[in-house]
Each structure stands twice: as structure tokens, then as C-alpha cells.
């Protein structure tokens, strides 16, 4: 190691706390980004593994109509068509009440057709001639991996009670499947039963969900297609995992961008540290320049220092990420279950790419944030070796130019944000210059506020008050970075908080108008916002007949897989009163409803955004009778699904789809007093064995809000972590700042200032910095919230939201900034007041 590098590295270890705090900033940032990545990847991996477990070695799946595939089609394929490499599958979910509501995928298979498809069923020990024989002979018998059985505390011969489609079912454990390295993940959350038992358990008598195919070539597939009904589709295996990944794309990007927020604050920390380091060592750097070190040499020296911090932070962050991801995975998989699909994530999957991405991000972020300090260091004039002051006058003179550059940067950010694009990353990229530009306005604000603070503090605290406020200006090159870093972190809190609050208000208002009935009936489901399980059709009429019911709405939800995408179709039997719950983006509602009941469709705003539709557009949908074009009558506001919904009038739906049953029914009561009685009456209706949930408006609204809040739990946790990073930042900055002023404070002490007065000056100064940061954070925070609401959310999901500034969030933010700054100033204050003037006056 050459002397220059030695000097750089030792400089870090000479200020260990600063080194550790900066590395911590990067570590937290990297830990969050990587853990979110791990959690997202693990969820997606868990889903695709559960898909693979079902798919086995199938190359394709045969998908039937909305009602699945009748047994007879499969029989015909095998017996008359001679297609031996086919196997029927039924899939549903079973949750086990006692095991942390662990969710298993229950698949029903034909054990005689299984051999070419699923390895774990063709092991010698678990062949149909062996243990699996019981599965055929005893109804509701299941097999599971020995690992799963161990975790559930059961063994073959025992029974377990599970919930399937909301109904309690007793399953008999008949066989345990041996686990090997190759099938461990696939078997993790899987229960396997015979096709006949599955039909009974899932309530699909005589039908199967799909047929697995192991096709040799395209010719075989073509032959197969010719043997199937015309509206059947042969889909490539793995297509459903791809669809699931697509569904999560925007969700993941937004989570990742939130974690990047912490990294950006960490980035400021590094910038902070390196700038301090350069400012503090201007004389040393000047000396090095005077004795012949080139400006490039100085540049490299500063970057090397930064890289050491970045590398230490990155390594610590990667280690921490493993543990953080274990916590995050619970929240994220809960949200995925709430919003998208059923998945049980039990294992953490880390790929080299995730590690590489995290490491690269940590190091690149460090390098990027050090470029400017390194550049500044390289421009330190050798003359600085002979000068003892005048370092601050540079920036003071540049403040107006600095401010103008800041405004120009914000303008550039604004232009990037207004580029009509659907790219979310581009939008986030546009936020960067806005933030940086705003940070560049900080010196201007500090000097402006100082003019107000200075006379006030002078009159309140005398000369110590004046010193405290003047030192903000005297050390502006350092104070402004600390203030900007704190302002940014607090602004992030205001931004994310206001966005969530605006979104929440919009959703509550929407729920209020949409849920305009009194009683809501549905079947129990594993996913909050999706209704897989259906109620019998005749239940609608039975509810209509209940005494006191003045009207009903009903709907049937259906998932259509077409062109590799999943479309949520709502067949709506909405009444005239139900119409009022819908608000359209454009057009005359009366006209739209007329067209709707006449056969047109209406689409939700996210769907219209995703598929680039508007009133009058045509949308091709895969019906049970083949592809059909539908005209879009209108686009309605809806916040139920970020994937978007297509609604079709129920009578029209029946013409094109075979799907039976209803996903939900809502009823209007004649008067408020009879609601409870009607609920009881409905609960007591004959539902043909189907368990039903009868709930009031309030319950449904509260549950929806609960899901909403749960979805933003991760965002809130990340937001809190960003504040912690910011606190570390402000602490580090203030610490440096006060230690920098050691000599100045020593002079004050030598001139008779009491330690308590010195403590007062330090505390007063940090208080002023906190107030300045708070004042700066409010407009920036609201600006960020507006960008998130009007641009990011719009581009991510297509939602229109009402932006509302929240006074309580702003007050909290102001308090947060002040408290963070004052707390961060306590230790340096105590330390400086205890330092002997002689030591403080001694030259380094």
C-alpha cells in the first residue's frame, strides 16, 4: 500500500465513529434493497415451485372453459384418442387453522396416469402398489411430504382438520412422501389426494381443473388440439408463473423503490462524510498538492476512502439483509395473499444475482455520492496549505448560483417526470434531480432564516444565541449538508405518509359509495380481494325473498387466462341502486348503464390504463364460446384491484360463459333496524352445504381498510428505517460539525464561556438546524407526495387519487426533525462542554 492510500485509510480509522455511522447508512440501505429483493424473489420462487410441483414434467396444460373440464373430455382423450401422456389435475387450497393458518396447495391426481409427470409419486416406496394404495381406497385421504407431516406433528394414520373453500374438512393422512434434495421445495406446501376425493373436497363433482400433457412435438400437440372442444386452450407449462410474476411487477418495483429511498438517504450520508473529510483536511490536501501529488491522485485517494466505507457498509448490509428478509417475507407474502394469489413462503431463496445487485448498488452508490467530494478535493488549491481560513467564503459567495442550479435541477426533474411514459423507473429517476435540486436550495434557506433567527436569539439568549445562529452561516458548507440530509429523510416521511393517507382517504370514500348496500354475502376465501369459491345461483332469489330485503346486487367473478395474461371478469347483476356506487371517469352515467345492460362492458381505471382502453374501445375476451369483441361503454374508478377489472352485465355473461354460481350477493334492507334480523335470516337459509359469510357494511369496510393498511405496512416499516438512517446521518453530521469547531469552542471557553453555556450554544445550533430541516421538509415532502400520487401511482397502477395534504403528518414531521436534531446534538454538546480548552486549542 502506498503512503497516500495508507493516509486515506488511516484517516477513516482516526474517526471510527464517523466511519461506522457512514458505513451503517450504506448498510441499512443495502440491507433493505437486498432483503426486499430476497423476499420478492422467495415469494415468486415459492409460487413457481408450487406450480412446478403441480405441473411436474408436464410440457403443457389443457385449459377448459370457465367451468373447468368435464371428466368425459379426459376419458375421451385417453380412451378414444389414445393420448397416454395426459393426466387430470384438480387444485385448491387448504388452510390449517392450528398451524399459523399455514396454507397448503391440495392437488387431486389420477395415480394411474401419474408416472410420467410427478417424480415424487413414482418412487418405489410410494407407488400405488405401496403406501399410496390407501389414497385410492379411503375417501379424503392425502399424502404429504415427511417434512410437512413432521412440522404439523402428524404421521400416517392420523387425521387433520382443514378449511377448504370455507368449509371444515377432515383429511386422513395415508402416506408420507420421502423428501430428496430435488423435490424438497416442490413438496413443501403440498397435499396430494386422489382425483375423486379432490372433486368432492373442492366441490367440483365430475369436473377437473386442467389436464397435464407431456407432448413430444408440435405435431402431437396439433393432433391433441383437434381432439379437444374448439374453445379449449393448450397452454405452455410455466405460463401461469410468468403471469404471476407480471402481476407482481408494479408491486415489486414500488417496494424496491421505497427501499432505494433508504439507500438515497445513505447516499447522502456518504456524501456528507466525504465532504466533511475533504473540508476538514483542506490543509493536508493542499500540502499534498504542494509537494507534488496531482489532482488525479487526490481524486483517487478520496474515492478509495469512500470505497472502504462502501465496502464495509455493503458487506454488513448483505449479512443483515438475510435476517431482515426473514421478517419482511411475512409482510410481503401476506400482501401477496391479500392482493394477488395464494402463496406460502417458507424458505428464503438467495441468488448470486441478488447478492451481486446489492453489492453493486452499495458500491456504485458510494462511488456516485463521493464523486463530488472527490472532485472538490482534487480542486483544493495547493495554496490551501498556507491558508488558515477563508474556506467558507467560497460557498457563501456561490449561494445564489447554487440556488439557481438547484431550481434548474428541479425543473429538469419536472420535465423528466412529465415525459409521457409508462416507465416507473423513469419516474423514480425524475425524482432524483428534484431532491438534489431542493437540497441545493438549502444554503439559501439557511441564510434567509438566519436573518430572522439571529436578532431573535440575540435578544433571547444574548451573545450565545447570536453565536449559535451565526455559526450556521460560518460553517455553511457543513451545516447545509446535515440540514439537507435531515430534511430529505423527513420529507420522505411526509411524502410517503401523505401519499398513503391520500390513497387511504380515496379508498375510504370509494368504499363508502361502492358498498352502498346493507348486507354482504360471500363464501369464505383465502384471498381477501378475490372470490374463488362460489355461492349457489339460487341463493340470490332466496335472499331477495327474505322479509325486509328491498333489493339485491350480485356478481360472479371469473379469471380468464388469455395471451399469457390473467383478466378478472366481473359478471355484474347490479341493481339500479347499485349503479350509484359507480363513478365514471368520463361520459354520461345513464348512457353508460344503458349500453352496459345492452351488452357492452365497463372497465376499471387500472384495467383501462393497463390495456390502453377508453370509452368506445373494443376489447377481445376469451369466452367459453371462443374469442369475442366487446365494446367498452365506460371507465370507472375502482381501487379493489391493481390488475384492473372488466365488468359485464350478468345476462350478457350467461350468453358467453358457462360458469355457474355467484361470487357475492349484497342486499338492501328496508330499514336500519332490521339489518341484524335479515343477516340472521340469510345465515339460516339453505345453501346446499356451502358455508356463507354474512356481513354488514361496517365489517366489510373495516376489513377492506385493514387489508389496505396491511399492504402499506412494509412501506411504513421502510419509511421508519429511512428515518433511522437519517437520524444516523444527522448525528454523524452534527458530531463532525461540532468536533470541527473544537478550536473555535476552545477559544470561547478560554475567554470565559461556561461549559453549560457551551452546551447551550451547541444545543441551540442543532435546534436551529432541526427547525430549518423541518421547514424545508414540509414543501419537499408534499411535493414528493404529489409526485407519488399523480405520477408514480398513476404510472404503476393507473389509479387516480385525490391528493390531500395532512396537517398532522406535517406537524409530526416538524417535531421529528427538531427532536432528531436536538437528540443528535446532545452527545456532541456534552462532549464539547467537557473538553478542556487547552486540548481544544491544540493543533491537530
Amino acid at each position: 500500500m502506498d503512503s497516500l492510500t495508507k493516509s486515506a485509510v488511516r484517516n477513516l480509522f482516526r474517526h471510527p465513529w464517523q466511519f461506522v455511522l457512514s458505513a451503517l447508512g450504506i448498510a441499512v440501505g443495502v440491507a433493505l434493497v437486498v432483503s426486499i429483493d430476497i423476499a420478492g424473489h422467495s415469494s415468486s420462487k415459492a409460487f413457481s415451485l408450487s406450480m412446478d410441483a403441480v405441473a411436474g414434467k408436464a410440457t403443457h396444460h389443457i385449459i377448459g372453459t370457465s367451468e373447468g373440464i368435464p371428466d368425459s373430455v379426459y376419458r375421451n382423450l385417453r380412451v378414444n384418442g389414445g393420448f397416454r401422456n395426459t393426466a387430470p389435475v384438480i387444485e385448491t387450497y387448504a388452510s390449517i387453522p392450528g398451524a399459523n393458518r399455514r396454507i397448503f396447495k391440495l392437488i387431486g391426481v389420477d395415480f394411474f396416469a401419474e408416472r410420467p409427470f410427478r417424480d415424487y409419486l413414482s418412487d418405489a416406496g410410494s407407488s400405488v402398489d405401496g403406501e399410496l394404495k390407501l389414497l385410492l381406497t379411503r375417501p379424503k385421504s392425502v399424502a404429504a411430504s415427511e417434512q410437512s407431516l413432521k412440522e404439523l406433528g402428524v404421521s400416517p394414520g392420523d387425521s387433520i382438520v382443514v378449511l377448504i373453500n370455507g368449509a371444515e374438512q377432515t383429511l386422513h393422512i395415508s402416506a408420507s412422501l420421502s423428501v430428496s434434495e430435488s423435490n424438497r421445495a416442490a413438496l413443501e406446501n403440498l397435499l396430494i389426494t386422489d382425483i375423486a376425493s379432490a372433486q368432492e373436497l373442492a366441490g367440483k363433482p365430475g369436473r377437473i381443473d386442467l389436464i397435464d400433457v407431456k407432448a413430444g412435438d408440435d405435431r402431437e400437440l396439433q393432433k391433441l388440439k383437434e381432439f379437444l372442444p374448439a374453445d379449449y386452450e393448450i397452454q405452455k407449462s410455466g405460463a401461469r408463473s410468468e403471469t404471476a410474476d407480471q402481476m407482481l411487477e408494479a408491486f415489486n418495483i414500488n417496494l424496491q423503490s421505497l427501499s432505494l429511498l433508504a439507500l438515497i438517504v445513505g447516499l447522502f450520508l456518504i456524501y456528507n462524510t466525504m465532504t466533511f473529510s475533504v473540508v476538514r483536511r483542506k490543509t493536508v490536501i493542499g500540502t499534498l498538492r504542494a509537494i507534488g501529488v496531482t489532482s488525479g491522485g487526490i481524486y483517487r485517494m478520496v474515492l478509495a476512502e469512500a470505497l472502504v466505507i462502501g465496502a464495509a457498509g455493503t458487506v454488513a448490509g448483505l449479512i443483515a439483509a438475510y435476517f431482515v428478509s426473514k421478517v419482511l417475507i411475512t409482510f410481503i407474502s401476506q400482501s401477496i395473499n391479500d392482493l394477488y394469489y395464494v402463496v406460502s413462503v417458507r424458505e428464503i431463496h438467495v441468488t448470486p444475482l441478488i447478492i451481486l445487485k446489492g453489492a453493486g448498488l452499495g458500491l456504485i452508490a458510494t462511488l456516485l455520492s463521493s464523486l463530488k467530494p472527490a472532485h472538490e478535493a482534487s480542486r483544493v488549491h495547493p495554496r490551501a496549505a498556507m491558508m488558515r481560513s477563508g474556506q467558507e467564503s467560497d460557498l457563501l459567495a456561490k449561494i445564489p448560483k447554487f440556488g439557481i442550479t438547484g431550481l434548474l435541477l428541479m425543473l429538469a426533474g419536472g420535465i423528466i417526470l412529465l415525459i409521457p411514459s409508462r416507465n416507473i423507473w423513469l419516474s423514480y429517476f425524475g425524482i432524483l434531480p428534484v431532491i438534489t435540486g431542493f437540497a441545493m436550495l438549502t444554503p439559501l434557506v439557511i441564510t434567509g432564516l438566519e436573518k430572522i433567527f439571529s436578532p431573535a436569539l440575540r435578544s433571547m439568549f444574548g451573545i450565545t444565541g447570536k453565536i449559535a445562529s451565526r455559526s450556521m452561516i460560518r460553517n455553511i458548507s457543513r451545516t447545509y449538508i446535515a440540514v439537507a440530509a435531515l430534511a430529505l429523510a423527513v420529507a420522505a416521511t411526509v411524502g410517503v405518509g401523505t401519499m398513503i393517507s391520500s390513497f387511504r382517504d380515496t379508498v375510504i370514500e370509494w368504499l363508502g359509495s361502492r358498498l352502498n348496500a346493507d348486507i354482504f354475502v360471500s363464501a369464505p376465501n383465502l384471498i381477501s380481494r378475490r372470490n374463488d369459491v362460489v355461492l349457489p345461483d339460487e341463493l340470490a332469489d332466496k335472499i331477495r325473498g327474505v322479509n325486509g330485503v328491498t333489493g339485491i346486487n350480485f356478481y360472479r367473478e371469473l379469471e380468464i387466462y388469455q395471451d399469457g395474461k390473467k383478466i378478472h371478469l366481473i359478471s355484474s347483476g347490479v341493481s339500479k341502486r347499485g349503479f350509484d356506487g359507480f363513478e365514471f371517469k368520463d361520459g354520461n352515467p345513464e348512457e353508460i348503464w344503458k349500453e352496459f345492460t345492452g351488452g357492452d362492458i365497463i372497465v376499471s381505471e387500472p384495467f383501462a390504463y393497463r390495456y390502453d382502453l377508453d370509452a368506445g374501445s373494443m376489447l377481445k375476451l376469451k369466452t367459453d364460446k371462443g374469442m369475442k369483441d366487446f365494446r367498452v361503454a365506460g371507465v370507472y374508478y375502482d381501487y379493489a384491484s391493481d390488475q384492473g377489472l372488466v365488468a359485464i352485465y350478468h345476462n350478457e355473461f350467461r350468453k358467453h360463459w358457462d360458469a355457474k354460481g355467484l361470487s357475492g350477493i349484497s342486499a338492501y334492507a328496508s330499514d336500519e333496524g332490521s339489518i341484524e334480523r335479515i343477516k340472521n335470516d340469510i345465515q339460516n337459509l339453505d345453501t346446499g352445504g356451502q358455508k356463507i359469510l354474512v356481513r354488514g357494511y361496517k365489517f366489510l369496510r373495516d376489513t377492506s381498510i385493514e387489508v389496505f393498511d396491511r399492504t402499506f405496512l412494509v412501506a411504513k416499516a421502510l419509511q421508519a428505517l429511512a428515518v433511522i438512517v437519517a437520524f444516523v446521518g444527522i448525528f454523524s453530521s452534527l458530531m463532525s460539525l461540532q468536533l470541527e469547531r473544537k478550536k473555535e469552542l476552545g477559544i470561547l471557553r478560554a475567554n470565559g464561556l461556561l461549559p453549560s453555556q457551551l452546551f447551550g450554544i451547541v444545543s441551540l445550533q442543532t435546534l436551529l438546524m432541526g427547525i430549518t430541516a423541518g421547514i424545508l421538509a414540509l414543501p419537499l415532502g408534499n411535493l414528493l407526495a404529489a409526485i407519488l400520487v399523480y405520477i408514480i401511482n398513476k404510472r404503476s397502477f393507473g389509479w387516480t387519487m385525490q391528493f390531500s395534504a395532512v396537517p398532522s403528518i406535517m406537524t409530526e414531521a416538524l417535531i421529528l426533525a427538531i427532536v432528531a436534531a436536538v437528540l443528535a446534538g446532545i452527545y456532541p454538546g456534552i462532549r464539547m462542554s467537557k473538553t478542556s480548552p487547552a486540548n481544544a486549542l491544540r493543533e491537530e
Binding site: S3, I291, E844
Partner: protein, 227 residues
């Protein structure tokens, strides 16, 4: 040889311009020791900066070993300084994060001299601090720090030493030690030195004594300088 021809230098602060060097001509022969007197703010340090290429003149030429450094780029001037000039500062300016030995190693490394231990031992002996090689600067007294600073200025064997008030931060006795050291390691080795100072104790070293006043150089006789 060092030559300054028609050199002028002004500084602008706000709306006012302050000329510190005005159409100055000066030549310094190789091996000559020049002492430069002048009031604070008279431009003494600026003159050193111009000679070392740290600053560029507004007008005129500065020749170091017959090369006009005013025509060179910043990097080229740094390389000229690295190879030909040793600096001694009033505030010592040792690198606090490097030991004495490493402080001395630095100019040698910059010059590309790898095997430097012998040279360092020898120069530490010359400045009378052979046992301080592994000490950090903050553990040295002011006089010791300045001796190490002199050693650092000389270790890579430059032809020119520029000293900016080398005794300015030291007490009288320690100042005399430094003057004696400069006599031994600079003058007697035939190096060229330009020393800016307020101290009259260094006059004994001088081949020539100059005074800088209102941007102009005047040569003083030894007697008048003492007087």
C-alpha cells in the same frame, strides 16, 4: 536557475482589485540563498506560489531551470514541483495520518523512488531525529515537526527549497536550531533556497536579501536589513 520576467499578479475581492506583484523581474542563481522580507500582505507568499507554479501570474514569465512554467498545464506544473521543489511551511503541515517515516516516504514515492529506507534514515540523522521514524506528527514538538518538515522538503533531493516563514511558529531558541539546520542541509549542500521570513536571525544564511514592497522588489544590503 529561477527567473521571473515582467511578472504581475493581482487579486480581486468584490469590486476592488489588489495588485500584489507589479512587473517584477528577478533571477536567482543555482545554489543561491535568497531571503525575502516584507510586511504582511506584501505578496511574499504569492511570490513563492508563483515560483512553485501553485499560482500563475497575470502577466510575465516564470522560468524554472529554463522552462517557462506559465505555459504548462496544471499537471505539468505539479510534476515540475514534484521533481524540483521542496516546500517548508510555517505551520509544518505534516500529514497527521502518516508516521514520520511515511511522511518522508511520500515525496520519494511520488518521484517513483521505491527503495527509500536508507535515504530516510540518513535524512533523519541529518535533522537529528533518528529515533522518531515511527512517531506520528502530533506526538512531536513544534521544533521537531519543523525539522521533519525540512527533512521532507529535502528527502527527494530537489534543487530548490521554498520556505515560507519556517521559524514563524517557533520560539527563539528553536528558531535558531532550525536556522542552523537549514544552513547545514540546504546551504552547505548547494541548494537554491528562497525563504520568506520576518526573522532577522536568518540573515546569516543569505547570499542576497530582498524586500518586497508595493509589488516591487528591492535588494537590501545586509546592514540595512539588520538595521
Amino acid at each position: 536557475m529561477i527567473g521571473l520576467y515582467g511578472v504581475s499578479k493581482s487579486f480581486t475581492e468584490g469590486s476592488s482589485t489588489h495588485t500584489v506583484i507589479r512587473d517584477l523581474d528577478l533571477t536567482i542563481r543555482e545554489g543561491e540563498i535568497v531571503i525575502l522580507f516584507g510586511k504582511s500582505g506584501s505578496g511574499k507568499s504569492t511570490l513563492l506560489n508563483l515560483i512553485s507554479g501553485i499560482d500563475l501570474p497575470d502577466a510575465g514569465r516564470v522560468l524554472i531551470r529554463e522552462r517557462d512554467i506559465t505555459t504548462l498545464t496544471e499537471n505539468e506544473r505539479t510534476l515540475i514541483r514534484r521533481d524540483n521543489i521542496g516546500f517548508i511551511f510555517q505551520s509544518f503541515n505534516l500529514i497527521p495520518t502518516l508516521t514520520v517515516k511515511e511522511n518522508l516516504q511520500l515525496p520519494l514515492e511520488l518521484k517513483g523512488m521505491k527503495d527509500s529506507s536508507e535515504r530516510i534514515v540518513s535524512i533523519l540523522n541529518e535533522v537529528g531525529l533518528p529515533d522518531r521514524a515511527s512517531t506520528y506528527p502530533d506526538k512531536l514538538s513544534g521544533g521537531e515537526q519543523q525539522r521533519i518538515a525540512i527533512a521532507r522538503a529535502l528527502v527527494h533531493d530537489p534543487g530548490i527549497i521554498l520556505a515560507d516563514e519556517p521559524t514563524g511558529n517557533l520560539d527563539y531558541d528553536t528558531g535558531l536550531v532550525i536556522v542552523d539546520l537549514l544552513d547545514r542541509v540546504v546551504k552547505q549542500k548547494g541548494k537554491t533556497m528562497i525563504m520568506v521570513t520576518h526573522s532577522k536571525d536568518v540573515i546569516g544564511l543569505a547570499d542576497r536579501i530582498l524586500s518586497l514592497r508595493e509589488g516591487k522588489i528591492t535588494e537590501l544590503k545586509t546592514d540595512s536589513a539588520i538595521g
